[in-house]
């Protein structure tokens, strides 16, 4: 495959059957390998689309400074594109993200500013939005509210899955910015597919708001797109990500384990009901950036303890 630029290689990722993890023909499980994107995560789709939209709207011009709240992957995608296109990038990250994400961002030339661990990404959003107000010449693409985020998945991720698997009955993805589900989910929902969200359930520190009014629901989120929404604890996510590696040889990041946990709950329910089902889920990224988190060390008790307080998704 030949391309004029790395940016042109986003998407077109494989959809792989997981017949070792879930044998049988009535219910089939499929993994969309989004780690096969330029910087190794699904966020390349949203990041490149948001930059292209801002350039088309005249909001971004050469030499501009981008600021973005991110727990990591979106920042890495933006950093790659910023390098290629000549922008300066400042990422605001919660201080409890994995070390690898900070290292990779720095390597790509992004400037990292930290927000307090307590409050998780809520605090990163708050800090970044305040910085954007104080620096009106900076451009905040804002992955939580930018329609180009969801549109990228409506126009690419969703159609790719439907083309590869016309018989799809269920789509399962992670809920963070909600871009994947609001885009690919909306597209597939229009084709009669049930849309299932898996959101990470972190340790208590991450929910350490001072009051409930500080809660955050991304502007992109529209609950009518979803059929069901599951909350997945770190222990279940780690168990599944290890099973995926052991059974299929796919080494994914921890959030993918959470998504797989929800996909397997659907598979079990459909099989018990005697229904045919084709369930596609998203592999968000590979396992590399999570080595330091402890997710892959020791037994499940060790990993659960190590992940407590970290933003593992």
């Amino acid at each position: 495959m030949r391309a004029e630029s790395l940016l042109d290689t986003v998407g077109g990722t494989p959809l792989v059957r997981l017949s070792a993890l879930w044998p049988g023909e009535e219910v089939r499980l499929w993994a969309k390998l989004e780690d096969r994107n330029p910087t190794g995560s699904i966020k390349d789709r949203a990041a490149i689309a948001m930059i292209a939209a801002a350039e088309a709207d005249g909001v971004l011009s050469p030499g501009a400074t981008l600021i973005e709240p991110t727990s990591g992957n979106t920042g890495i995608s933006l950093a790659m594109a910023a390098r290629r296109l000549g922008y300066r990038l400042i990422c605001v990250m919660p201080e409890n993200v994995s070390r690898e994400r900070v290292s990779v961002l720095t390597l790509f030339g992004a400037e990292v500013r930290f927000s307090p661990a307590a409050g998780g990404s809520n605090e990163a959003v708050r800090v970044a939005r305040a910085l954007a107000v104080d620096n009106p010449d900076w451009v905040m693409l804002d992955q939580y509210s930018n329609p180009a985020n969801a549109r990228a998945h409506y126009e690419t991720t969703g159609p790719e899955i439907l083309a590869d698997l016309p018989e799809i009955t269920h789509f399962v993805a992670g809920l963070g910015t909600t871009g994947t589900l609001m885009g690919a989910g909306r597209f597939l929902g229009e084709h009669g597919v049930q849309i299932i969200a898996a959101e990470p359930r972190y340790g208590e520190l991450v929910y350490g708001l001072r009051n409930l009014d500080e809660g955050f629901v991304p502007e992109l989120y529209d609950e009518t797109v979803l059929t069901r929404r599951y909350s997945v604890a770190a222990r279940d996510a780690v168990r599944r990500v290890r099973e995926l590696l052991a059974a299929e040889g796919i080494w994914a990041g921890v959030s993918t384990g959470g998504i797989l946990h929800a996909a397997l709950a659907i598979a079990t329910a459909e099989a018990a009901a005697g229904r045919r089902a084709d369930i596609a889920f998203i592999v968000c990224d590979g396992g590399w950036k999570y080595l330091s988190t402890g997710a892959f060390d020791g037994d499940l008790d060790d990993a659960e303890e190590a992940l407590d307080g970290q933003l593992w998704a």
Binding site: P69, T70, S71, T74, G119, G120, S121, N122, A124, V125, Q143, Y144, G174, L175, G176, T177, G179, A197, E199, P200, R201, Y202, E204, V206, Y207, G208, L209, R210, N211, L212, D213, E214, G215, F216, V217, P218, E223, L226, T227, R228, R229, Y230, S231, V232, A233, A313
Partner: protein, 90 residues
């Protein structure tokens, strides 16, 4: 139905600091009424005008109740109910 309810840090002022409290109810709505009889004011922090507050998520056995009937979500014996504030991901 007797269930176990996980209380987020921010609402433990209503439960004398307890992380987990037992409760009774055939539905989530019944459960919140039962909890409020022992933990005054707790229900008001979760429900407003007969619906869940915007920044509060409630899960029964890890499934978001907004997709399973809301306050009418049925509870089974021994179910695990989790209350959490809505936070950003990504």
């Amino acid at each position: 139905m007797t269930v176990s309810v996980r209380i987020p840090t921010i609402l433990r002022g209503h439960t004398d600091g307890a992380k987990t409290v037992p409760g009774e109810g055939a539905t989530l709505g019944d459960l919140l009424a039962d909890l409020d009889s022992r933990h005054a004011g707790l229900s008001d922090r979760i429900v407003e005008n007969g619906a869940l507050r915007r920044y509060v998520n409630v899960y029964v056995d890890d499934s978001d109740v907004r997709f399973t009937g809301g306050l009418d979500t049925p509870l089974s014996e021994g179910a695990s109910v989790t209350i959490l504030p809505a936070v950003a991901g990504g």
